[in-house]
Amino acid sequence: MVEIQVHEDGCRGCRMCVDICPTTVFEYDEEKRICVVRHQEDCIACLSCAYLCPSGALAHANFHTVKNFYRDLAFCEKMERFL
């Protein structure tokens, strides 16, 4: 399952992640004035929240990263010689 971490000190409570998330993973905590993860199990790892967060306060782990371009594959093969 995808793991989401909200860096509470970094979160400015703008709610952008709450608004963008297609599966309503987040909730806004009125008391703390930050977002909180409510339904981590619903995260599809679209990563839109992480791209959008103005504070870079969201981190995801344990998810499938989409395959890169195959041109990059050839590039990587070349780079491997130097690594």
């Binding site: 297609p22 599966t23 339904h39 199990e41 619903d42 599809i44 790892a45 679209c46 990563l47 839109s48 791209y51 998810f63 499938h64 990263t65 989409v66 395959k67 890169n68 371009f69 195959y70 041109r71 594959l73 050839a74 093969e77």
Partner: protein, 170 residues
């Protein structure tokens, strides 16, 4: 580069090229670009699923579509998705059967991102066409694939298999 990697590289180049063409066509002829790519996708979906066994079972039909894509080296990986508060994977509505799908690796998304083209355009509509064509062959029913969210690493869509005699426009 191995032969497989070379084939993939050329497919990737073709997709990038298609991305650029689609973006240009959208600018030139507007909304009609969606219709053209929908029909192209539908034709492809029908052709590639010609020999697939017929079924009324939606999940089984989706599994067949997934296999068709895989066998034809189409990088369109998807899976049915059930949110925590949804009692069943498939929901029966007035319009038909509904299921949510998550698309992970997608050759269209990757091609669009390469040159900064927008998602949800005519190429994404080609995917809708593909599903409509394949599912018409397999289930004998019309369908609508609606993009609920186009994300950077995955997209979230709603698939509706329409009841016979009803029509929902995407």
């Amino acid at each position: 580069m191995t032969e497989l990697a070379a084939t993939r590289a050329s497919l990737q180049e073709t997709m990038s090229f298609l991305g650029a063409i689609a973006s240009g066509i959208e600018e030139a002829i507007g909304e009609s670009a969606n219709g053209i790519s929908y029909l192209a996708g539908k034709r492809l979906g029908m052709k590639l699923s010609e020999k697939v066994e017929k079924t009324d079972d939606l999940l089984q039909a989706l599994e067949s579509v997934r296999r068709v894509l895989q066998e034809n080296s189409c990088l369109w990986h998807f899976e049915p998705f059930q949110m925590h508060d949804r009692p069943e994977m498939i929901e029966l509505t007035e319009s038909g059967e509904e299921v949510n799908l998550v698309f992970r690796d997608c050759m269209i998304r990757q091609s669009l991102f390469r040159f900064g083209h927008q998602q949800k355009g005519s190429l994404c509509n080609m995917m809708f066409g593909f599903f409509a064509g394949a599912l018409l062959n397999i289930m004998g029913r019309d369908s609508v694939l609606e993009i609920r969210h186009a994300g950077e690493n995955a997209c979230y869509k709603r698939l509706l298999i329409q009841k016979a005699g009803t029509k929902e426009v995407a």
